[in-house]
Amino acid sequence: MTDRRIFAKILIAVLLVMGVAMLLARSFTAANGASGESLLSRVFQARAAIPAIAAEDNDLVLVFGSSMVQAGFSPREFDRDLADMGIDVTSFNFGFGGLNPLFQDYLSRRIAEDFEREGRRLKLALIEFNPFQATRTRRERAVALEESYIATLASPSELFEILREDPERGSRMLTIRYLRDGISAEMITTFFWGEPFQAPLIQTELEEEEGVAERLQEVLAEMNDRFEAEYPEYDGSDWYYPWRGGGTNKSERPQETLDLIEEYYRLTQTDYQMADDRLQRIQTADIEELHFDPELVEAFIRIVENFGRIADQVEIIMLPKNTDWIRNPPEALARQAEVVAHIERETGVPVRDFQQIDAVSNDMFSDTTHLNRYHGAVAFTRHLANFYADSLR
């Protein structure tokens, strides 16, 4: 065999071994239904809806943030409340669970590009600043997701910029994006092998009332059945256009369903459930002490700037806090005040602190952080409508 032929044979073998190995690895993740798109399905569905959003006749309002926005803002009720005041807008819920500001920064760039491509501007963009999403603890918990999520949310030019600055990281992220379908090795390793090493979730020493868990299962099953019967047209999307990214409305539900939902709220707000939820939030997000991660705060500032490109008015809001369960010590509040002042200084946008407002009481939460849909979200949405009515007129 000549020198050249042996090298050609080696080269082919190298490419074949790695090519087939990559194909097998990708088949494994695909067979398990794992992909960047499936992990961020609500994000992808919301982005896919932007051309239709841009085609809406009314002025547009978009509320962007975490799962607290997802649960706590009801677009159709917002529009109805404003319509009652003679203001026609169409609003959308762009709240997404599991994304810290680092990921939201990339997402907000994509949203801004999408709107710019459509040549449409927002009348008002409300950006949620969620203090416990910007903590060091919260970030550390998401380290294994970081490259996957950024590789999935970044644009090709951003990925090539990362490649230019750090070829090793950039090549890894390009591989995650284009060859691994958004799933990094770290993500898989953490899923299969990391969990036993994480400290177990702290649990309350309170005893759960007898029969609550069983009854909760029954209520949930019945709620699901009723939902399917009452919304036959719902297609199962995580971000559903007819609801504009929000959820169902209280006014659409029959009284028997509402009674059942009230029972569900009672069953999920027992001291046992709430104490457990609080401890887990402390452990996973440092929700009371609030030790902020400076990089996450800077990423949040960039989110505000990204929305500034496509919105006539950008506002930063802080959503209601369940003060029965989440109590920040003075040092934490001082840290929060410092970060808020920094954000206001850097963005020139005031932070509207709705953490403690009369319109929302502590019994309107479904857990220690999220507003419930038929009381909390309704009340908070109405509060927003009243607060922003003048600027939307």
Partner: protein, 468 residues
């Protein structure tokens, strides 16, 4: 640029394409290897390329000067210059701050507050490897063990050869330099063995990354651990350091073999060792043989053996890093080697030392493995105090925390991974040829292992030995 990353894969494919299919003459190929190696090194930090190239140029000319020197004193002068330059570079980058801080700490013991300035320089990756490699060349020429070879580019290329540049093995010039003067042509069977070594190395590196999690829990976290979890952490580190380093060198040797270059093995089933001396014949062979040839024997070798062993092991420990934990690790190995020699000469134990029965070998293996594992605590711990606490915990049977719910399972997986690493190595040593000839089995197994390594692991983690 790390072997188990996508960027290295692209690098190697492009390298193969040009090296094998575009440049067909020997000289352009050597030049191309040099350029590729500098790109490989520069990907980490291009500012240190002049240091690498500069020290190779100086050693090249010093070797020629040694060979051409008219008097022994001039020969000695030139070799001294080489030693001073190489150890000076190493000392400046690696040990200056450690020395200054140690002096300040020492003065502090006597109540003298000394705030000495530190350099805080970045340690050039692979510096400990290539300075030792370069140094061995001038010393070999000085001793007359080899003649200097003309060809500065060839010498620089041999020193910078990318598979072994950043984490060894530490090659002797006589092992690698002739291959650059007479470029080898790869054979298909050699390349196949290279693929096997790369795959074996990749698997070990992946396993090492997984073992880093239980090891990190012991050495990095403040968590209170049970006896089982403490032992699991130490065993996991034993597996991690072996998988990481042996994995890297397997890949280095395999990649070199794929393009035809032969690099000798650096590990030979080290945890199967049956004495501390045996361990050092199997672990990081290129370093231990370097220390033997250029330090232990010049110190006098077997004459004043205990003193020479202690000096060699102390400096061997220090070679790994500028910290007292590495010095303690070296001293620990010095002590156990010396103790082995001493005990082996006692009439009561001489019989046991010579006993080759299965039970005696098993007992010797158990003692050796226990000692080596204890040594790893010194190597890995953040301080000597912390190492001492862990060693005490390893032998404390009451009063520790209760094991977590998964503790037994994690211990089992850790031990299984350690065993599997060695089984894979034994297989590569003993059964490789037969396996490589069964093409229907060989390629699918390789592909399967590669796909598993693509699925799991933490590719962002660098190799531990890069820091040395």
């Amino acid at each position: 640029m790390v072997f188990n990353t996508p960027i290295f894969f692209v690098f190697f494919v492009v390298f193969l394409l040009f090296y094998g299919l575009v440049f067909l003459q020997a000289r352009p190929r050597v030049y191309f290897i040099l350029v590729a190696s500098l790109v490989f090194y520069g990907a980490w930090n291009y500012r240190f390329i002049p240091l690498l190239v500069g020290s190779s140029i100086i050693d090249y000319y010093l070797a020629l000067a040694i060979a051409g020197a008219s008097t022994p004193s001039r020969r000695k002068l030139f070799v001294t210059l080489s030693v001073v330059m190489n150890l000076g570079i190493l000392g400046l980058f690696k040990y200056a701050d450690f020395l200054l801080m140690s002096v300040a700490d020492f003065l502090g013991v006597f109540g003298v507050e000394a705030s000495l300035p530190t350099l805080s320089w970045v340690l050039p990756v692979g510096i400990s490897f290539y300075t030792f490699q370069s140094l061995s060349y001038t010393i070999d020429v000085y001793r007359g063990d080899m003649q200097p070879r003309r060809g500065l580019v060839h010498f620089t290329t041999a020193l910078a050869f990318f598979p072994q540049l950043v984490a060894g093995p530490i090659l002797r010039a006589r092992q690698i330099l002739p291959q650059f003067h007479n470029l080898p042509v790869p054979t298909w069977s050699g390349a196949r063995h290279g693929f096997l070594l790369v795959t074996s190395g990749l698997w070990k590196k992946t396993a090492a990354d997984l073992l880093a999690i239980p090891a990190g829990r012991l050495f990095e976290a403040d968590a209170q651990l049970s006896l089982l979890e403490t032992w699991t952490g130490v065993l996991a580190f034993a597996g991690q350091i072996y998988g990481d380093f042996a994995g890297y060198t397997d890949m280095a040797i395999g990649l070199a073999l794929i393009i035809g270059f032969k690099i000798p093995p650096n590990f030979r089933l080290p945890y199967f060792a049956i004495s501390p001396v045996d361990f050092w014949r199997r672990w990081h062979i290129s370093l231990s043989s370097w220390l033997r040839d250029y330090l232990y024997i010049p110190l006098g070798g077997k004459y004043q053996r205990h003193r020479n062993v202690m000096i060699t092991m102390l400096l061997g420990g220090l070679w790994h890093g500028a910290a007292w934990t590495f010095v303690a690790w070296g001293a620990f190995h010095g002590i156990i080697i010396t103790a082995t020699h001493f005990l082996g000469r006692l009439p009561a134990l001489a019989g046991f030392a010579a006993n080759r029965s299965r039970s005696a070998v098993l007992l010797k293996w158990a003692i050796t493995f226990y000692l080596v594992t204890i040594g790893w605590v010194l190597f890995r711990a953040n301080s000597i105090g912390s190492a001492f606490e862990i060693i005490v915990d390893l032998h404390t049977f009451t009063g520790l925390a209760e094991p977590g719910p998964m503790a037994a399972w994690i211990a089992l997986i850790t031990i299984a991974t350690l065993v599997l690493m060695h089984l894979a190595d034994w297989f590569v040593i003993a059964r490789a040829e037969a396996f490589e000839n069964r093409r229907w089995l060989f390629w699918p197994v390789l592909i399967m292992i590669h796909s598993i390594c693509l699925l799991v692991g933490e590719p962002s983690d660098e190799f531990i030995y890069f820091q040395f």
